[in-house]
């Protein structure tokens, strides 16, 4: 009879187990299923022991990920064991999610580096160099003479330069390595000039003190600090164009406030890992989420809808959405919230003059109408050319409202620089009225696929004002957008017209109902294209038209790069050594490498290849290099090295002649005896000679055109395959040398804690402390806190913190400089700066080139300012370690607001102690990294409430509106380093930024502009749809416009995407080559980390679609080669149906050091992701000297974009060799 009770197995087994119940310490359950134990579990001591630790130290990760996560680092017996996230962020409030925990798998794997075999433990010098240096030193005795002996001799120089990247590094002592570095600096400054040395360290926000270390040294000696935000193509150039701001975005906690969220080219779970939860959670509040991505990216999983727009076509989709919004929310019906918003906060009501195209009937938009053009403008009106005009709907009369650039500078504008319209009701539409006439416009258009220039016509309503035929920007927008319908974009993007229309409608409806709480998170997927500025302007049109900017939960949320160094003013004083000398040299890195790695020699097309058909021929016969030279000499963009002569010698010459140095330089230039260095970058006196890199991996990561760097800058082997431009495509103003130089650089110095391509190609490598071995500060745009790095252990082996390493270099430099340099005078060429009256240098954006005889060379107006600076080279060591005296008299200035910081200086003198004796006697100490942290905190309004209040009060004098109450709640608060050690600390609302955190609200940019009527830093003082600079018009980009990805087949004769098979009949496939951010690394950091490699596929990978793989006969995990004119990559294929046909991804910054075999194509080591890319400079990014289109460091400059590239992929032999 069968037993109906539930039971186990059969009787025999049951009996057996039942018996065992009596022999075990534990309790076997009544039903014999399982065993229970209670208490006293000695056998588990292993796990208890493993969990134990001696201390837990707060630190974070100094990597450009925007995470800014606070971590607990566990230490046992003096050894770092592992890390977990801190959870003690201040609360966001009872009705919101919190920031805890913040972190990602990459950060969780960091401690692996501490003791890993890739750790740089000692100083290393290239063997070939060290040997020659030692020989020379024994011969000459003097280190500087020894360095000269090696590098000034062509054979010796070639000998060690050709060894770069090929092993053979040998250990040296700190003393010797530092001596070589110091000697190289002294020799280079003396022989070639201080602007021939450069420093590269990106992203101060990720570790401000470490960034400031070498930057401070570089600035003190007069070297050039290279930009990074534009170089990384993380700078959205549309931000300065539209907002007059570098970038200011909401913290991730503000996503929660959005009612509608579009993730556009931003793979939030991968690139904003600690923030992604806000998006996931906000959906539970009913937020609708849209993903626009060419592949089924990680974030698509969360989206209610996925719009798989083809790569680089996002602008078309955005323009069509803008067309729907204009049509349905402005034309077909009026939406009061939107109308009120754009009248007050955008340039839509402002008047633009229409000018003849030469045809009798057709016109085109010209310049903004300004007070200059009005008969009613009184004599003596200041800055009339910068006072833009609108029509008052009540009277029909032209009005210059408050808040234009004309009010920002000069006495008359005091108290008037605000957005208070008074009784004025700006007119948007010119519909109706007797005075209105209809005009036919020609507008630029570009081929939807190949980008070729063409034109289109549209009609606008216009009126005559004081004899000028004008229309509003609003009318121009209607005309511009008329053809950009959802139906138009469908064949371009692949997104169904109905979907585009409906998403646009929903986005706007949500904004209308919620008063601006529609948000677009936008990222590198859309920002790294050549024409990203046009893509972004199409995005920003959506958020501005719908009244979302300056509203919590709305607007743009651009997250590419950890750009937000919240205590920016404090950091800037230290990093640029503004406390000792001003101005610093700061260079746009993209142009720097475009010229100095000779990429300009490989452009087989003219600059006007990008012009519109209505061009005035400004770019005709010019190359991009010519435009860079023009931008430099007109003072638009910085250019270092500046002249083809040592600037120290220039100053000496002027002194000898007994006249001001500026006068001397201008005369020499006009006489043609002196030239700009950028007009002859291949001449030896214009080479960059010394490059120091810390906190960065240039050659294994960010070097767009990596193989060009290896060949021309370093003089070692490369896989470069491109051909130089033929005779018809060479520069006009820039000298062409028949033989391109190789090995321009004399010294490459890198400070790092791990081996990278950059360390392997360096001449000197210094061992750095990691992020768990030093004091520093960290902030991000993603959250509003400032928090600290702290040493869990002392720097092990012979490693040192960056702060200590650079002080050692500075000290030795000063010793050698005592005899070799002494005190010299230097002439610094400064570009025309944003947020200063320099922005008034170019009325109406009308370009005049003194070299062409269109005007006189006038420093500070038509050419760079020329500033003489005294450099006491023997005092640099002392200056590094003390806060200098210039702050006492000049204070600090950020974004046009100057602060009196004398109280902070006194505080720091007491807090840090004063230096005793020497050139810095009595000054506050900066000797220790903690001192530097305190100085940063004391000198910024975001961390010092007194300064925030003071800054707002200063600003109030200009705006005439009340703002200082925003910071009043924290007026007495000085955040100390100890505070940041205890927990992340919320920052204080400060005029350094555009949003308010007052009362604990979430940060959203431009809330101060919207709520306190503070103008944007633009021509009109409003957000700009229209840009009237000559070069913008030359490019056909006055208004948002669609420009597709560059056509590499036309420009460079690459095969067209989709081409199957090569000319020899081999199975190949030509595809778009994208390099999005990697799930298993942060740039090149962590991609070599064993944990990340174990969780992925352990080496260089290229993702491709099943369709493309089939065409080229490639199976998953096959070895493949990707080849184009720029270089070669060897990788394994990941084949997946989540990838779209026609596009491959090689995730960003997979260095060549991990499992990369020799390439069949070149016989050399396979490259990095940037071996297939190169720099292409967009002329619109070079514009300067005009309103918001004026230079500031990392604010404006050409981007190092790399998205438009194509490559040929083939399956290679599966037998791979490594040597």
């Amino acid at each position: 009879m069968s037993d109906t009770r539930p039971g186990l197995d059969d009787g025999l087994a049951e009996a057996l187990v039942r018996t065992r119940r009596y022999f075990t310490k534990g309790t076997v359950s009544e039903d014999l299923r399982t065993l229970h134990h209670q208490g006293g579990r000695d056998a588990d001591a292993f796990y208890r022991d493993r969990w134990s630790h001696d201390k837990v130290v707060r630190s974070t990760h100094g990597v450009n990920c925007t995470g800014s996560c606070s971590w607990k680092v566990y230490v046992k017996d003096g050894i770092i064991t592992w890390e977990t996230q801190q959870t003690d962020y201040p609360s966001t409030g009872p009705d919101r999610p919190e920031y805890e925990p913040r972190g990602c798998p990459r950060g969780a794997a960091f401690s692996w580096y501490t003791y890993s075999p890739t750790r740089v433990r000692y100083p290393y010098v290239r063997g070939a160099l060290l040997q020659m240096y030692r020989e020379a030193k024994s011969q000459h005795g003097d280190p500087v003479a020894a360095w000269a002996h090696v590098v000034d001799h062509p054979d010796r120089a070639r000998h060690y330069k050709s060894q770069r990247g090929k092993g053979g590094m040998v250990r040296a002592t700190w003393e010797e390595a530092v001596e070589i570095v110091a000697a190289a600096y002294v020799h280079t400054i003396k022989k070639w000039g201080p602007d021939r040395v450069a420093g590269f360290s990106p992203i101060p926000a990720m570790s401000m003190v470490s960034h400031a270390s070498g930057a401070r040294f570089t600035s003190l000696v007069g070297g050039s600090m290279l930009s990074f935000y534009d170089w990384y193509a993380d700078l959205p150039v549309a931000s300065p164009q539209v907002f007059g701001d570098q970038t200011d975005v909401p913290e991730s906690g503000d996503w929660w406030d959005a009612g509608y969220l579009i993730m556009w080219g931003s793979n939030v779970p991968v690139t904003r890992t600690p923030d992604a939860h806000w998006m996931a959670e906000a959906r539970y509040r009913g937020q609708k989420v849209i993903a626009v991505s060419p592949d089924y990216a990680d974030n698509v999983k969360f989206a209610d809808e996925w719009l798989p727009a083809r790569p680089g076509t996002d602008g078309a989709l955005a323009l069509s959405m803008g067309q729907v919004i204009l049509q349905e929310f402005f034309v077909e019906r009026t939406t009061p919230y939107f109308t009120d918003y754009v009248k007050r906060y955008s340039d839509l009501p402002f008047l633009v003059k229409l000018v003849s195209t030469g045809s009798t009937t057709e016109m085109r938009p010209g310049k903004f109408l300004t007070a200059e053009d009005l008969g009613s403008t009184p004599e003596g009106t200041e800055n009339a050319a910068f006072k833009t005009v609108l029509l008052d709907a009540r009277t029909g009369e032209p009005v210059v409202p408050n808040g234009t650039l004309g009010d920002r500078f000069g006495e008359q504008g005091a108290g008037r620089w605000n957005l208070d319209l008074g009784d004025v009701d700006p007119l948007l539409s010119l519909e109706g009225g007797d005075a209105t006439e209809t005009v036919t416009l020609t507008l630029p258009a570009f081929g939807d696929v190949d980008g070729s220039a063409g034109e289109t016509t549209a009609t606008v309503r216009a009126r005559r004002v004081d004899g000028h035929l004008v229309t509003t920007v609003y009318e121009l927008m209607l005309a511009r957008y008329a053809g950009y319908t959802p139906e138009w974009q469908e064949p371009i993007t692949g997104v169904p017209a109905a979907a585009a229309r409906r998403i646009a409608r929903e986005f706007a409806q949500n904004a209308e109902e919620s008063r601006g709480r529609s948000m677009i998170i936008m990222g590198a997927g859309t920002n790294h294209w050549f024409h990203s500025d046009t893509i972004y302007r199409a995005f920003l049109a959506l958020t501005t038209l719908t009244g979302c900017q300056g509203v919590n939960g709305g607007g743009w949320a651009h997250y590419v790069g950890q750009e937000k160094c919240r205590p920016v003013t404090g950091w800037a004083q230290l990093a640029s050594a503004l406390d000792w000398s001003r101005p610093p040299r700061q260079m746009i890195q993209t142009a720097y490498w475009y010229l100095h790695t000779d990429q300009f020699r490989y452009d087989p097309f003219s600059a006007d290849a990008l012009s519109s058909t209505r061009s005035d021929g400004r770019f005709a016969g010019l190359t991009t290099a010519d435009l860079i030279a023009q931008s430099a000499r007109m003072g638009w963009m910085p250019s270092y090295p500046t002249f083809d002569r040592n600037p120290l010698d220039l100053a000496d010459e002027a002194a000898a002649a007994g006249r001001p140095v500026a006068e001397h330089v201008v005369e020499e230039l006009e006489a043609g005896r002196l030239r700009f260095a950028c007009e002859d970058p291949d001449s030896p006196e214009n080479f960059p000679r010394v490059l120091s890199i810390w906190r960065a991996n240039l050659l294994g990561s960010s070097a767009k055109g990596d193989e060009y760097f290896l060949k021309h800058l370093l003089g070692t082997d490369s896989s470069l395959r491109a051909e130089e431009a033929g005779a018809g495509h060479r520069p006009r103003d820039v000298e062409w040398h028949d033989e391109a130089p190789e090995g321009k650089l004399d010294l490459l110095l890198t400070l790092d804690f791990r081996q990278t391509s950059t360390t392997l190609f360096s001449d000197v490598v210094l061992p750095a402390a990691t992020w768990y071995e030093k004091h520093d500060l960290n902030t991000t745009d993603m959250h509003p806190f400032i928090h600290s790095f702290n040493p869990a252990i002392a720097p092990p082996w012979q490693t040192r913190t960056d702060w200590d390493a650079w002080q050692a270099i500075a000290a030795r430099f000063s010793e050698l400089a005592w005899t070799h340099l002494g005190t010299r005078r230097d002439v610094v060429a400064m570009p025309l700066l944003h947020d200063t009256p320099d922005a008034l240098a170019t009325p109406h954006g009308v370009v005049k080139d003194w070299k062409r005889g269109e005007c006189r060379p006038e420093p500070g107006r038509t050419m760079p300012k020329l500033v003489e600076v005294e450099r006491d080279y023997a005092a640099v060591g002392a200056q590094m370690g003390a806060l200098g005296p210039l702050l006492d008299t000049l204070g600090t200035t950020t974004k046009g607001v100057t602060y009196d910081v004398t109280a902070s200086i006194d505080y720091l003198r007491a807090k840090n102690g004063a230096v005793r004796g020497g050139p810095a006697d009595g000054r506050p100490s900066l000797v220790r990294d903690v001192h530097a942290c305190e100085a940063i905190l004391a000198l910024s309004g975001t961390t010092n409430g007194h300064l925030a209040v003071q800054g707002f009060k200063t600003l109030e004098k200009r705006t005439g509106t009340v703002m200082h109450d925003l910071a009043a709640e924290h007026e007495g608060k000085q955040i100390t380093f100890a505070d940041t050690q205890a927990a992340p600390v919320p920052v204080i609302t400060s005029p350094e930024w555009s949003g308010s955190e007052s009362g604990g609200r979430r940060y959203s940019p431009f809330t101060i502009n919207v709520e306190r009527l503070k103008p944007w830093h633009t021509l009109t003082g409003r957000q700009h749809f229209y840009l009237d600079h000559d070069w913008m018009q030359e490019l056909g980009e006055e208004l948002p416009v669609y420009r597709p990805p560059l056509d590499m087949a036309t420009l460079f004769s690459e095969p067209a995407p989709g081409t199957v098979g090569d000319e020899r009949g081999a199975a190949t496939i030509t595809v778009r080559y994208l390099t999005p951010h990697n799930k298993w690394s942060i740039h090149s950091e962590y991609q070599d980390n064993l944990f990340m490699l174990s969780l992925s596929r352990g080496g260089q990978l290229i993702w491709m679609s099943e369709v493309d793989a089939a065409k080229a006969g490639i199976a998953d995990n096959d070895w493949i080669e990707a080849v184009n004119r720029n270089g070669v990559v060897v990788a394994r294929a990941v084949v997946s149906h989540r990838m779209p046909e026609g596009t491959v991804y090689m995730h960003h910054a997979q260095d060549r050091l991990i499992d990369v075999p020799l390439a069949e194509t070149s016989g050399k080591r396979g490259g990095i992701h940037n071996s297939l890319t190169r720099l292409l400079v967009k002329p619109s990014h070079l514009v300067g000297g005009y309103a918001q289109l004026s230079y500031a460091f990392n604010y404006l400059g050409p981007t190092g974009n790399q998205r438009d590239e194509v490559t040929v992929i083939r399956r290679r032999s599966q037998e791979v060799r490594y040597s």
């Binding site: 539930p6 065993l35 000695d42 292993f46 972190g103 090929k166 352990g1098």
Partner: protein, 457 residues
Amino acid sequence: MRVMAQMAMVMNLDKCIGCHTCSVTCKQAWTNRAGTEYVWFNNVETRPGQGYPRTYEDQEEWKGGWTLTRKGRLTLKSGSRWKKLATIFSNPKLPSIQDYYEPWTYDYATLTDAPAQQHTPVARPKSLLTGEDMKIEWSANWDDNLGGSEATFAKDPILQKVSTEVKRSFEETFMFYLPRICEHCLNPSCAASCPSGAIYKRSEDGIVLVDQDRCRGWRMCVSGCPYKKVYFNHRTGKAEKCTFCFPRVEVGLPTVCSETCVGRLRYIGLVLYDADKVLEAASVTDDKALYEAQLGVFLDPDDPEVQREAEKAGIPFDWMEAARRSPIRKLICDWKVALPLHPEYRTMPMVWYVPPLSPVVDVVRDTGEDAEDAGNLFAAVDALRIPVEYLAELFTAGDVAPVDRVLRQLAAMRSYMRDINLGREPDASTPAAVGMTEEEMYDMYRLLALAKYDERY
């Protein structure tokens, strides 16, 4: 009634971003040592996908968990314990290292030490088992984000069970992530498989542990566990597994994987159950009834009788309080939005999951309707990108009804909260349509969306 307390976890898959932070922090804390190189107590799988170790869910192959005999008695799927003892020296159902992956490292030192040479130095992969050069062919997470999907789809045991055809086309791509730790089952088949009696369930909190002193390395637990969450340490020769971080939990800290989860999707709490009912529940005939059966063994800490019995069983008052305010209880028992992983294995697992509310496919979009509007809500659920059948094979032995219900609850929450978000009058009919009150819906929103630290654990 025999009241026992169980520490349990719920993971809200709808919030999982697949970042693997949990995996790394767990590995750093627990298995970053010789003998456990290949071991991930916590791993995260992309689904569809093969999982780790490969195809572990194919119990026809691996014979993990329990099954019913023809007489309806529960027996280990790999054979009765009697049979196990008899075949102790040959264990045919053990995944090989290749089924996990061959762990490797790189010769990083060469980057520093390389002499002057022709090419740039490179660190080649070296097997951690043999020390030899190797080509990497598999890893703990090889098919992450649908990598190599052609092979993945062919071998995903769940996909093979789903009746609706899942096409591998770009337009219809779907995926989600499944983080996994030991299930700390109420009816652990690993413990039952152990010939040495080394695996036990802690009486006070139900955590399943391997007694390192008693383990003799037979590896029957590895075979017996259908989730393949017991691992063999080849250095010590003993079995090891997720400990639910008991050294942390005992002092009031959440597990490492939970506290470090940046998706904020893990909940830990106590539930009470009736130990006397476990065997009966695990023995119900119909696989699809196992979910409800397991719900039936949980006890209500507010029930006075349960309180009396708990006191008798020696469960302290503060533990009863913990059970009462347990987020796990709310998610599993009150709102029933969390479901067990593979109840058909009959182990009564105690790590449960809120299924992912994935985006809707073009079907709803193309109607031109807003999928968030209450009126379209349920149509939207029917058109989910992830087939409900696939989720049902994971969580309810193939019964789509409970999964469908949970997804509707989540969708209803979004719709209900949208009105509140935009300042409209909330619509009480929305929660009512999924059998919830407005207050319940709001409480569920708080726990899932705000998910404050002290409410998650």
